[in-house]
Amino acid sequence: MTTASGSQAEGARGLQGKRILVVEDEYFIASDLKRAFQKAEAVVVGPVGDVGQALALVAEQAIDVAVLDVNLEGTNSYPIADRLSERAVPCLFLTGYDGWSLPEAYRDTPRLAKPFAMEAVLETVARLMNVPPHPAG
């Protein structure tokens, strides 16, 4: 019963078949994200934990939306966001800091503070994909 209504709710999100890039260096967080997206019938690209691997995936794979941990072992994930932005792929930042001043270029990028509620991630990702494509496109 709960499973049925749950999958109905997941289906209603509109994530089915969407390709979601997950970049997160902490295995358990990455794995939770992966499971949650798979449960919503999305296709997970990754997850990967460093900038190099992520850039390779961005170059090779079709991606509809991305979830990026800002701090990847002391380096930030802005280069990935830049590359995605060039391709008009929306992304969501996950951060562990308060008072984090994102560079101006990413000020409009949505972000969630850790520890985050998975529900919030799913909702935000769904909302990002309903945003009409870039006017430039």
Binding site: E26, F28, I29, D32, G74, Y97, K114
Partner: protein, 510 residues
């Protein structure tokens, strides 16, 4: 009669002598170095104008009546040196104590002339004149011995000199006190660790303390005007001049800027404060400023900010991990007590690793210590069935956290189903380190159980432990791992790179 006539012809001449004497006193006031010298010079003037052979001066404290100082004239000193008693003896030879008392207590001049012509020991004559300030007697001048005794005109002359002498002495005293105060101030200014300076007109320096030259190697005169800006960091010059532009209106100057340390060859941060010195009408005459080296303080503050941010990051990450571990533990079983038991064990393991991380100064964790702590938590650290061997390896916190949790899963499994439960079974934990082909140092750990009968049913908790070892360690640490359930017990291998940049995380570096 003849003497009287001479005396009547003299008043003007006498007056001139007295005036000259007063002039001499003021002349001496300028040329003598201290109060003592001036007092001696004044006594010599008084001796000359009165014809006294020797003299002394006593000063008393107005409140207590005690003598504060007694000065003996140079001639008195010579006379005393030639005869007994030595100078400094309390009683002045031959002077009736009540004469001195009358001068000091009564505040009046006294003449005591001994019998003339008699061949008697000195003194044969004494003239005492009080020194008065604001109507109160603060001392006296005693003139001793004059051929023919002291006359009224000698007393008049001495009385005329007395105020001038007292004034000269008081001025000298104030001057000396001021000089002493200036010396103290100078010692203070040159002794404090701050740089001290004076400025006019919005930051034009007029003086800098020696510390400035010592620190910047700039000559004091070169710091004058805006010269002090030269050793200031080029990026800070404009800012500090803006602060000066507002300083007069605000009545204060506060700025932090960098100044180049000549011997260290680098810029250090200084906190600079200046306060205006105002005249009686409140106008700013000049500014007195100090510059304090706050470089170490600033660096510590920056480091603290980094540490706090890093700590925040770590705390939030670990909470997220704990939540994930909990979800997984809860997913494995419907038995609440079992879930609670497993979860508590995992949480304790994470906590133990955190404790070891924070206990070591380097933030690194000794591998053997990590393994022993884990085995100790289940009471198996000194079991005869157990061998632990390997070289010393210091794990970075990240690796320690994951490996610690993996050891926990293996230990719990061994206690429940494996070598730490079965009599006669053995557990061998060993490790080596080597360089791989990429020149990266690797840790190769083997957890090997022997003598455990085959288990028909795989324990439920293997789900989490297996995922941790076969998925999480490779993902998180770039490890290569294997986990085999063989006849005789579990064999687990973990090969982890230990790159040098992991040796000391950024936030630990000073």
């Amino acid at each position: 009669m003849g003497t009287d006539k001479a005396a009547s012809a003299r008043p003007i001449e006498r007056k001139n002598e007295v005036l000259e004497s007063i002039n001499r006193i003021f002349g001496e006031a300028l040329s003598t170095k201290n109060e003592e010298q001036l007092a001696c010079a004044c006594l010599a003037v008084a001796e000359d104008v009165t014809g006294a052979r020797t003299s002394f001066m006593s000063e008393v404290d107005v409140r207590s009546g005690e003598f504060v100082r007694r000065t003996i004239s140079d001639r008195a000193r010579e006379a005393h040196a030639a005869s007994r008693p030595p100078p400094g003896s309390d009683a002045l030879p031959g002077i009736a104590p009540d004469a001195v008392t009358r001068v000091l207590r009564g505040g009046e001049s006294v003449i005591v002339n001994g019998p003339a012509g008699a061949d008697r020991p000195t003194p044969r004559a004494f003239l005492g004149v009080p020194l008065k300030q604001d109507g109160r007697t603060v001392g006296m001048i005693g003139l001793i011995d004059r051929d023919g005794g002291f006359r009224a005109e000698d007393r008049a002359a001495a009385e005329a000199l007395a105020p001038a002498i007292l004034h000269a002495l008081r001025s000298k005293h104030a001057e000396e006190a001021l000089r002493a105060s200036e010396r103290r101030l100078q010692v203070l200014v040159e002794g404090v660790p701050q740089m001290v300076w004076r400025a006019v007109n919005g930051g034009h320096w007029t003086w800098a303390s020696p510390q400035w030259t010592e620190y910047t190697a700039q000559k004091e005169v070169d710091s004058h005007g805006l010269g002090w800006l030269d050793p200031v960091h080029p990026e800070d010059r404009e800012g500090v001049q803006k602060v000066w532009a507002d300083a007069i209106q605000r009545g204060e100057f506060h700025a932090d800027y960098r100044v180049r340390h000549a011997s260290e060859g680098r810029y250090r941060w200084f906190q600079t404060r200046a306060t205006p010195v105002r005249d009686d009408r409140g106008r700013v005459i000049e500014w007195l400023g100090t510059s304090t080296d706050v470089d170490d303080l600033r660096r510590l503050q920056e480091r603290q900010q980094t540490l706090v941010a890093e700590l925040q990051h770590r705390v939030r990450n670990i909470l997220t991990v704990v939540r994930s571990v909990f979800s997984r533990t809860a997913d494995m079983s419907n038995d609440v007590e079992q879930v609670a038991d497993h979860f508590r064990g995992r949480l304790d393991s994470l906590a133990r690793t955190q404790v070891i991380v924070t206990q070591s100064a380097s933030g690194r964790v000794d591998l053997e210590n990590l393994i022993r702590e884990e085995l100790l938590s289940v009471g198996a650290s000194d079991s005869p069935a157990l061998t632990i061997e390997g070289p010393e390896v210091a794990l970075p916190p990240k690796a320690a956290e994951s490996i610690g949790l993996a050891i926990h899963e293996l230990t719990t499994n061994a206690v429940k189903y494996g070598a730490l439960r079965t009599p006669g079974a053995r557990l061998h934990v060993s490790w080596t380190t080597n360089m791989d082909y990429g020149g990266v140092r690797r840790l190769n750990l083997i957890w090997s159980e022997q003598g455990v009968p085959a288990i028909s049913v795989r324990p439920a908790r293997q789900g989490f432990g297996s995922e941790l070892i076969t998925e999480a360690l490779p993902y998180r640490l770039g490890a290569e791992t294997s986990l085999q359930f063989r006849g005789g017990g579990i064999r687990c291998t973990i090969s982890v790179p230990l790159p040098e940049d992991m040796a000391a995380p950024d936030w630990r570096q000073g």
